[in-house]
Every structure is written in structure tokens, then in C-alpha cells.
Symmetry: C2
Amino acid sequence: MARPRTFDEKQVLNAVRDQFWDAGYAATSLEDLMRVSGLGKGSLYAAFGDKRQLFLRVLNSYTEANHGRLREALAGAPRALDALRMLIEAPVDDPAGTRRGCLMANSASELGNADPEVLAHAHRTYETSTALIGDCVARAQREGDLPAEADPVALARALLAAQQGLVFMSRTGMDTATLTATARSLATRLLPTSADD
Amino acid sequence: MARPRTFDEKQVLNAVRDQFWDAGYAATSLEDLMRVSGLGKGSLYAAFGDKRQLFLRVLNSYTEANHGRLREALAGAPRALDALRMLIEAPVDDPAGTRRGCLMANSASELGNADPEVLAHAHRTYETSTALIGDCVARAQREGDLPAEADPVALARALLAAQQGLVFMSRTGMDTATLTATARSLATRLLPTSADD
DNA sequence: CTTATGGTGGACCGAACGGTCAAGAACTAC
DNA sequence: GTAGTTCTTGACCGTTCGGTCCACCATAAG
């Protein structure tokens, strides 16, 4: 009935996400968004609304994708403890050139005070992550790999904080070897097993 | 010989620091800086150079002040272990209204990809912090409060990562009680004592 | 006093910003 | 074919940006 779109929405959102991820929200101009998406201003506005709406949409799809991957990783691991270890050591695998940190964390840092919605989104994201990790901790306890007396949620929060801290250090350009050592150090202390002692 | 300045440099730098801290670098305009400092554009430029130079100067004095305070806290504590505990639990004390995170961390997140100098500064900062904390860990080991077999620097890095992670969670608006519990959870696991076991 | 020196504040600049809009192009339904 | 609808493009708008510049001012030295 009408002219069809010439762009793929997912591709555009990915390109826009990378731009925001690389430069931050404020430092990304509409011209940047036009360049990376290949769309004109009018098309961008008609399809996604203004800059902030587009950003929030990107942020949402980013965290949803992240949670999906986290869910898979935690559910798919043969032993829950392995999944938790990988969670902590994952930040290390980022190639040295692409240490952009976590888009959600970067955005919360940049826009926290100015945009309560971003802060609220970050808060919700961490709650969901905590729940996912907490379930995995409980499973590891049932599997006998973690002491049963620990509170799964408290440990999950500790793991999440440690992971975010690691992502941060990674972003500052810490060399891979040191980063790996730090991740191991944290994993060993936060995820004690009888083998470690 | 000439007209004296009518402003106090430290006051101006503090005001400017708070502005950058609240709004971030890109979202802070020269008009904002004029408002919070009470100076005209000409005075700002004559005294501190352009926006970026002023920002870098603020960042430097911020981290220096932070390291000074850290040095004092670590050196002044009767027992080193107490200082390390306080290091981890400090993020909790931030009043709920002023959860602005760490200026250095926020800046690295916002400008990391765009300004290598900021990234390098963050890297140097973390190295210095690690050294300070590492010394304190070694002292705690000498005082018999921490297992002697652990590598002080590795533990220092783990503590630093955990602390940065906590500051992050604090920034997202996590309620104080949960934040406290998370800090305790981390402190207990990263700083084990015979009493805790 | 006069003069030299540096501080101050605001007018001014070109560029870039986010956002709007209208005219035309590409498609489907008929 | 024609009509109707959506998408695309780029010109255009007012605002704000970071930065420069200069006339003016307050002081100290002589």
C-alpha cells in the first residue's frame, strides 16, 4: 500500500548502538547517526523519534540481548559454578582494541544525574542480573560446588559488583595479563571450592 | 604591578569540578562553567585555558586529593585491616541524594574512546591506588590479620575492582540497605579473618 | 599624578547542534 | 493506468556551542 523501507531496523539499531557506545550520548551528533545508519534525518525521526528516544531504545535492546546471553550461559553450563567463573572472567576476553566497557554502565555514568530514566533502567537491569546470577548460585550450591550456608542473592550481588569493577579496569587499558590475574583473584575469593583451599 | 584576581582559584576549581561531576564533560557548557564559577569567559580562558584543559586540571586535582585521603586513611588506621574494610564500605556512606559515583570513573566511561589522555590518567590512577592498597594489605599480613600466603598486589587489585563495582551500583540508586549488605558480603569474602570463619 | 600590567566581562563570531518540514519517490490497491 | 499511502531526502530553522577579542578597570611602581 505504501513505499517500503529500504533499511533493516536491526542493522540500523546495531550501527547506532556502536556509535553511542564508542562516543557516548552527548558526543554523538545526529550527523554521526546519519552517517553510521545511512539514513537521512527525516527517516531517523520518522522511524525512531528523537535522539533520546532512539538512545533509550538502543539501551533497551542492548540490555535485553545481554540478559538473553547471560541466561543462556548460566542455563547452558554443565555445572553452575563454571558459568559463574566465566561470568567473572568474561571481561578479560574483550580484545584490547575494543575495550568500550558496558554500554549500560557507561550510559549510567554519563547521564545518571541528568536522566533519571537511564538510572532507573540501570537499576532494573542490575536487579534482573542479580536474580539470574542468584539462581545460578543456588544451583551451584545444590550441586555441591559452593558452601550451602551463603545467601545466594548476597553472593550474586558481590559477583555482579566484582564483574562491573573488572569491566571498568579493563576499560582503562589495563594489560590483559594483569586483568586476567585480577579476575582469577576475584573468582578464587568469591567462589571458593574445596579444590581451591 | 597589576590588577589582582578577584576569585579564589581553589573555590573556582571546586565549583567547576562539581559541575563536571554532576553533568559530565560534554553536557557541561561554558555558560554552566561561568555560572558556577562566577567568572566571565575571558577570565576562565586566561586563567585555565580552554574547556578541555580546565577539565583535565580538575581531574588531576581530584585524583590527587583522593589519593591523599586514601593515603591518610590507610596510614592512620590502628590496624591495616580496618582501613581495608573501610575502603570497601566507604561507597555506602554516600548520602542517597549525592550518588554521583567517582569523577575519574565517570570521566573514563564517558571519554574513554575519544580522549586517550583521560584513559591514561585513569590507568595511572588505578596503578597508584593499587600500590597504596597493596602496601596496606602487606601491613595487615604483618599484623596477622590476613593470610600471609596471598599476593598483596593481587588482593589489592581485587579490592579496588570490588570498590569500583560498588560505587557503580551505588550510582544506579540501589537502596542503602542492599548496598551495605553487598559491601559486607564483599568485605567478608575478600578480607577473610579467623574471626569470620 | 602617570604609566605599565594584568584581570574582567560581554559583545561577537562561525560552526555545529537538534529538530522540522515539504516536495518528491516508490510502492500497493484498485 | 490512477489514487492513496508511506518512506526518503535535503533544505531550512532557531538555538546554542566553544572560542576570540577588545574596551574597560583596578592595582602597583615610578
